[in-house]
């Protein structure tokens, strides 16, 4: 083939891109980021793009990205049908996580790609297979004399036991092809080995028994290579938690901190050698274990695709890995591509950082019933944040606040531990706080190192924080505050303009130790709130403001620094910024005043990519309206933190303090708080009190809706009904309320010790039990009780309002009855089974609220409907989780409209015709229960899904089936296990069960269920309960995968440890068998599979539906 160096291969005019589907643990928003970048990169080349991704909340599936979007499952069969229809020349497999990679391997293996002449762009499939097959991988590396852990591949238990004997315990068991280390575990004994192997064998035919490298340093490199064999590493990263803890569960630091040049370069050289040998084209990630006592190493794995780490590396360095990877995939050379950050240098170079970043995982263990809180070799975190600083202490403390806005910093949080030694030895999500506590209690660094194996370097840094904490506690800032007020003012304002001084020589007498201590605390990442709490003893808003005032008078202000990929070596005008106290000069001067948009913060249960979509659409609208958008966000898995989306990007904390700091620098035209979900929403009121102009709905109104008492009063005033509720701290009062309104009662403590926060009590006994187990009840932490309305329909109303008028709205109906958290519910829009009267009442109430509160901007109201009686259960004066869903189903950009309204532009009401569709959308939750060891996979009042998908169809059944398949659900071929709950729900499912029988499904059931249906003429095979010692036992059937589908409807008030039902549900999750736990869903599902087959599901693009 004759070609010049930078000619992209001819003939690539249309490219298929596989997305990653619903967000799940191990596969989150980072792939929206990488996919969006890939689309941008191809568009720039004039290449047409076709995207398959059922994740409707993503930015990549929004207007202005791909030429065609298919909200369809990323499975071989669906993708083949799309290929037949679209006839692309090439396909990108590396931008949609493990889902896309696995689908690509399937497409390749079954000959689909070859048959249709679709070329795999970038890393060849054979190279992908080499990296995915642990045995092949080890072999290849041995050939080039690169070390991998001693390991033996086995496909059965017996050989596994033999292998463990050869390697010697502890060993680690790994399943091949598994995303995020699924099914992996460390085994220290034969018993553990057998357990873990059994499970691993259910995920993968091949498993690996390998030497355990627990305690070794874990280091990663991000590597790029073009087809001309130019190869380099963009970034390296070191894990705070050593080997043994999944990198997704670990605090990660970039660049590495404890590696010498020799070690850094040795691992870098090996990275390049390995990647060349495998033949990666584009981007990949390579993980190492490094002996903490020598320079010995092992290569752990290579991810031949964009990954969570590569998204992090992109944000950490400013180098757009995914964008460049896409360019390399279509054939460009690294030497020719410009570095899009600097525009003046080339893509072929390795960024130099003059700061460091700390990634901190976000766990949401409280949301899952019974989940094990230990962190280990498989990933359980649901999101992450990235903090930037010029000291490790600064970045770490920022990260802690970013990941959980309730925390004031690393120290001063009063997190209780039962046994510190245990906690340190067996880490949980609270590990780093246990390290702090241990240091506070006088543990030495060496002792903590022995217990945790965390490198002493990190421990010493945390010790510095603890020591400053001690000094702050001793110091009485408050007493000196007033004395300094007047004398310092003049001096500081002059001092800042003059020298780059951190230290004045004069004036030692007047400043005392406080100013130095304050400066020291700030440079080590202490927040004003934290300082207030440690010195004044409280962290109230007014105390925080007192500290802020004091430090400003001292001239202690953060400076803006720029991320430019080259440590200021060349001039470069990026808009990618952070704030630090370890510097004296701002890198930038603000020229164009803009509007600040607050991002969503970390992905967590209940706050996910949908809020990033809202932010990005808001930013795009601002840009279109010629207003420079300024973004503040701290989540590296987002598109809103892509520097080319905004005028200026502050990768910063979403706290009052930091937003005010940026506001002071920016002198902005206002702040938009209604796009990023709850975190920015709660900042609205304090920010406005501190003088920030909040755009859209009046912050006082936001506050009155957020405050349960105030909102309740408003509803009473308007004559709008709501379920009875009570806030109380008194047990007697609680009981009185329960007796008055009757059970069931929803209990919501405001402070949770362990277990899940929200729960339903069905009788008096439950109330005490739940409160005792879960919560502290005190004056500061009252309990909220709400009457729980059984068998009601739940309806969502998403609205865009302008000056008290509704300009656009979408009504969404929940398939599940009320009681399932709206985030876990299956939604249909337009609604299919609502009475006209119900719809009219909902519209009327919505109008009333919008006009009474004079709302401008997005809002969401949740209603309960039972027998045409409507009650409001929630109202949020911000964009909601379902905004992208309704926007895309109706092809009406709710956020663009809302943003224009917020800007005060006159907007026209969207005509009702827009909401009259001849198709519909169904949104289904994506769960990650398989990863959450021990968690009870059932739906409840607390949200548990980690993501969502949505599909379009002619009927609810069609769209529902597509959506369900999109979440990884496999349609049953033959066998179904039924255990259908209490008598009422059994009866409700009778019709469905009959249909299944008629369709020829082989039905299995537990005793009670079988008896019931037998009475009604349906025969079933009886399986014994898990806790019965009898055979045939349901557990054996699950383990042996003899069941294709499990329907398990929980009985209403069971919460017995290790109940039979729980064991069945858990086994279904562990052995990856499709599970339905809700009666309404079961009915819809049975209707669907009895009327439709997979081949009947239409392959139509978004455009085809909406036009």
């Amino acid at each position: 083939m004759k070609e010049t160096i930078d000619n992209k291969p001819e003939g690539v005019r249309k490219v298929l891109i596989l997305g990653s589907g619903g967000l799940s643990i191990g596969q989150a928003g980072e792939f929206d980021y990488s996919g969006s970048q890939a689309i941008k990169a191809l568009k720039e080349e004039g290449i047409k793009t076709v995207l398959v991704n059922p994740n409707i909340a993503t930015i990549q599936t929004s207007w202005g990205f791909a030429d065609e979007v298919y909200f369809l499952p990323i499975t071989k069969d669906f993708v083949e049908r799309i290929i037949e229809k679209e006839k692309p020349d090439g396909v990108l497999l590396g931008f949609g996580g493990q889902t896309a990679l696995n689908c690509g391997i399937d497409l390749h293996g079954s000959g689909v790609l070859e048959k249709h002449g679709v070329k795999v762009l970038g890393t060849p499939v054979q190279a992908i297979i080499t990296t995915e097959d642990k045995g092949m991988f080890a072999e290849r590396l041995a050939e080039i004399r690169v070390k991998t852990p001693k390991a033996i591949t086995v496909d059965n238990l017996k050989d596994g036991i033999k292998a463990a004997g050869e390697i010697s315990f502890p060993v680690i068991v790994r399943a091949g092809y598994a995303l995020g280390g699924l099914g992996s575990g460390i085994c220290k004994s034969m018993k553990e080995l057998k357990e873990v192997m059994q499970k691993a064998l259910t995920y993968s035919k091949q498993i690996l028994v390998e030497e355990s490298l627990e305690g070794w340093k874990e280091v990663e490199y991000e590597v790029m290579r073009d087809r001309f064999d130019n190869c380099m590493t963009v970034c390296n990263m070191e894990n705070f938690d050593p080997m043994g803890i999944h990198t997704g569960e670990s605090i990660v630091i970039a660049p590495s901190q404890t590696l010498t040049d020799h070690e850094y370069q040795k691992l870098r050289s090996i990275s390049i050698k390995v990647i060349r040998s495998i033949g990666i084209i584009g981007e990949c990630n390579i993980q190492f274990a490094l002996d903490p006592n020598s320079d010995d190493y092992r290569v752990i794995e290579v991810n031949a695709r964009l990954s969570r780490s590569s998204a992090l590396a992109s944000k950490a360095t400013g180098y757009p890995l995914a964008f460049i990877a896409a360019k390399l995939a279509i054939g460009h050379s690294l030497l020719q591509l410009p570095n899009p950050v600097t525009k003046t240098t080339k893509a072929f170079f390795e960024p130099a950082l003059d700061y460091l970043v700390v990634k901190f995982p976000r766990w949401d263990h409280e949301k899952f019933r019974r989940v094990k809180k230990e962190i280990g070799s498989s990933m359980k975190s649901v999101g992450e944040v990235m903090a930037i600083g010029r000291k490790f202490e600064e970045a770490l403390q920022k990260a802690v606040r970013m990941v959980n806005p309730g925390l004031i910093g690393l120290s001063g949080n009063d997190i209780p531990f039962e046994s510190l030694d245990d906690e340190l030895r067996h880490p949980t999500d609270k590990r780093v706080f246990a390290v702090v506590k241990a240091l506070e209690q006088g543990y030495t660094v060496d002792r903590i190192h022995d217990l945790t194996m965390i490198d002493r370097w990190f421990l010493h840094k945390i010790k510095n924080i603890v020591e400053i904490e001690r000094e702050l506690r001793k110091n009485k800032l408050s007493q000196d505050a007033t004395a300094i007020n007047t004398s310092r003012l003049a001096q500081t304002s002059a001092g800042r303009a003059g020298s780059a001084g951190g230290q004045d020589d004069g004036g030692k007498m007047s400043q005392g130790p406080d100013r130095d201590l304050l400066r020291k605390a700030k440079s080590h990442g202490f927040s004003d709130r934290q300082i207030a709490k440690l010195t004044f003893g409280d962290d109230s808003f007014s105390s925080e403001m007192k500290v802020r005032h004091l430090r400003k008078e001292h001239g202690i202000l953060p400076v803006i620094k720029r991320i430019d990929t080259l440590a200021a070596e060349y001039p470069c005008h990026t808009n990618y910024l952070y704030l630090t106290y370890n510097g004296n000069e701002d890198d930038i001067t603000i020229e164009k005043k803009g509007i600040i948009v607050l991002g969503s913060g970390p992905y967590s249960i209940g706050s996910s990519v949908e809020f990033d979509w809202c932010c990005v659409e808001c930013i795009k609208t601002l840009t279109k309206e010629n207003i420079p958008p300024i973004v503040i966000n701290c989540n590296p898995e987002t598109v809103s933190t892509d520097y080319d989306e905004s005028e200026r990007l502050y990768f910063e904390e979403l706290t009052v303090e930091r937003v005010l700091d940026i506001h002071d620098k920016e002198d902005d035209k206002g702040v938009i708080v209604s796009m990023g979900g709850q975190i920015p929403n709660t900042l609205a009121f304090p920010l406005s009190k501190a003088g920030v102009d909040i755009l859209g709905t009046d912050p006082k109104v936001i506050d009155s809706v957020e405050d349960r008492h105030k909102f309740s009063k408003i509803l009473d005033q308007l004559g709008v009904d709501q379920p009875e509720w009570k806030e109380s701290t008194n047990m007697e009062e609680i009981m009185r309320f329960c007796r008055k309104v009757g059970f069931p009662i929803l209990i919501r403590p405001s402070y949770v010790l362990s277990g899940s926060a929200m729960n339903v009590a069905f009788e008096e006994g439950d109330v005490e039990e739940l409160l005792k187990k879960a919560a502290v009840v005190s004056k500061e932490h009252p309990v909220v009780l709400t009457r729980f309305i059984d068998n009601a329909k739940e309806v969502d109303m998403d609205i865009v309002a302008f000056k008290g008028e509704i300009m656009a709205y979408a009504i969404t109906e929940h398939i599940e009855k009320a009681g399932v958290h709206s985030g876990d519910a299956t939604l249909v829009t337009p609604p299919q089974k609502l009475y006209l009267e119900t719809v009219n009442k909902i519209k009327k109430i919505s109008k009333l609220i919008v006009s009474h509160l004079n709302i401008t901007g997005p809002l969401n109201i949740q209603f309960l409907a039972k027998e045409n009686k409507i009650k409001i259960i929630e109202c949020n004066l911000r964009a909601s989780r379902s905004f992208p869903f309704v926007s895309k189903v109706y092809n009406v950009n709710f956020i663009r409209l809302a943003t224009k309204g917020i800007l005060g532009k006159d907007i026209a009401r969207v005509s009702n015709q827009a909401f009259d569709l001849d198709y519909l959308g169904v949104k289904a939750p994506q769960f990650s229960f398989t990863r959450l060891k021990g968690a009870d996979p059932q739906l409840g009042v607390e949200m548990a899904s980690t993501g969502e998908v949505a599909c379009l169809g002619e009927t609810a059944e069609e769209a529902f089936l597509k959506a369900l398949i999109s979440t990884g659900f496999r349609l049953p071929k033959k066998t179904v296990l039924l255990s259908t709950g209490d008598i009422e729900s059994k009866a409700r499912l009778l019709e469905s069960v009959k249909m299944l029988q008629e369709k020829g499904y082989v039905l299995y059931a537990t005793k009670g269920t079988a008896d019931f249906y037998k009475m009604h003429g349906v025969d079933m095979h009886v399986l014994a309960w898990p806790l019965e010692e009898k055979k045939p036992n349901v557990m054996d059937y699950l383990k042996e995968k003899r069941l294709d589908l499990v329907v398990n409807i929980p009985k209403s008030n069971e919460d017995i440890e290790l109940s039979n039902d729980y064991l069945i549900r858990r086994a279904a999750a562990d052995f990856d068998i499709p599970l339905i736990t809700n009666a309404a869903c079961t009915r819809l599902f049975v209707d669907a599979i009895c009327s439709l087959q997979e081949k009947d599901l239409d392959v139509k693009s978004w455009k085809e539906y909406v036009s």
Binding site: L353, V445, K520
Partner: protein, 358 residues
């Protein structure tokens, strides 16, 4: 925090910081390096003689200084010369509690033993931007007593850092004369690994009377035109048409001997991430230089071997027909990547070809 001290630049800018090295004032040329690891190697690199070095990476000293050991040739492991070469050190934060299995001393202790002043608490990014905008500047670290500014480029720094005697190392088959203009030890290690016998001579030593198979000209500090003696010797040597390989300053000297002009870069290349291109191949290289060859002045018979992908400056030259070549970057790494380490192999294979060819 320790004693307050200042960095004062020639344009009068003052940066306040704290002393953590040896408490005396010092002066020199203020330069920066953007490498993120490898401070022991950088600090002992003789090319930094006369300079006050600023690290842009904010945390320096994290892994301490490796235990003092020597390899079989008597060269200290992990260091690039027998002492710290910089006049002073500027960082944002010096790590007090280093952690590494091989660490002997802390950075702070090492600096004090070597009597090298150092400052921390400086906004090194702002300082770097300043140097970048204004060009390399003279400056002084003032700890207590004032001191005068000092311009190292007016001195023959090479004479200061070069060795005074001849050292023979290795027993391999290729005899190589190594001109030490301030050579980094890893260059010696790289050559010794390849079956060589080295005669390491001072910068102004006339080696033309010696029997040798190849000639190597090392890196070193300052302005290349100060090394008139080396250039003269080189000119003579080139007439013998034996293989010559130069690195960094050695590249500039080879160029000057061939007749090119050199010039001072506005801000030198001092980092570990410089992309260099040769034909269709790119390499990430480690660099430390303030002067460069002006490629436009390359005489007939010569061509560019490498070009910097960022700013287009020359990164190496070669003769079209004779066995002379040189690179501006450091193929031996230390600190930094060793992707171009193959150039040492190339030098040896040129020597072998030359031996058999004649």
């Amino acid at each position: 925090m320790s004693r307050p001290a200042k960095l004062i630049l020639e344009d009068g800018t003052v940066y306040d910081g704290y002393s953590f090295g040896f408490p005396k004032s010092t002066a020199g040329e203020v330069v920066f390096n953007t490498g993120m690891a490898g401070y022991p190697q950088s600090l002992t690199d003789p090319s930094y003689a006369g300079q006050i070095l600023t690290f842009t990476y904010p945390l320096i000293g994290n892994y301490g200084i490796g235990r003092q050991r020597k390899d079989k040739h008597g060269l200290p492991i992990n260091l690039e010369s027998d002492r710290i070469q910089v006049k002073g050190l500027i960082v944002s934060e010096c790590c007090e509690d280093h952690s590494h299995w091989d660490a002997g001393r802390s950075l702070k202790e090492w600096l004090n033993e070597n009597e090298i002043p150092a400052l921390q608490g400086i906004d090194t990014r702002a300082l770097t931007a300043k140097i970048r905008e204004k060009g390399v500047m003279l400056g002084k670290i003032v700890i207590g007593k004032e001191t005068e500014l000092y311009d190292p480029n007016k001195d023959n720094l090479v004479a200061e850092v070069s060795r005074k005697d001849v050292l023979e190392l290795g027993k391999g088959k290729h005899r190589i004369v190594v001109v030490d203009c301030g050579i980094k030890y890893n260059i010696i290690r790289c050559l010794l690994k390849r079956d060589t016998r080295l005669m390491i001579v001072p910068w102004d030593y006339d080696f033309n009377q010696q029997e040798y198979d190849g000639l190597f000209i090392s890196n070193g500090p300052g302005d290349p035109v100060q090394c008139a003696a080396t250039i003269d010797n080189l000119k003579k040597a080139m007439k013998a048409r034996k293989p010559v390989f130069g690195i960094c300053l050695g590249s500039q000297l080879l160029g000057l001997a061939a007749g090119v002009k050199t010039y001072k870069l506005k801000f030198g290349h001092r980092s570990q991430n410089q992309p260099c291109v040769s034909g269709q191949k790119g390499f990430i290289t480690s660099q430390n230089h303030g002067y460069a060859i002006d490629a436009k002045t390359l005489p007939h018979g010569w061509e560019e071997l490498f070009v910097n992908a960022n700013d287009g400056t020359n990164e190496g030259i070669k003769h079209r027909s004779l066995p002379f070549f040189s690179v501006q970057f450091h193929p031996e790494g230390c600190p930094g990547p060793k992707d171009t380490g193959y150039l040492f192999d190339e030098f040896i294979s040129i020597i072998e070809k030359h031996k058999t060819g004649i």
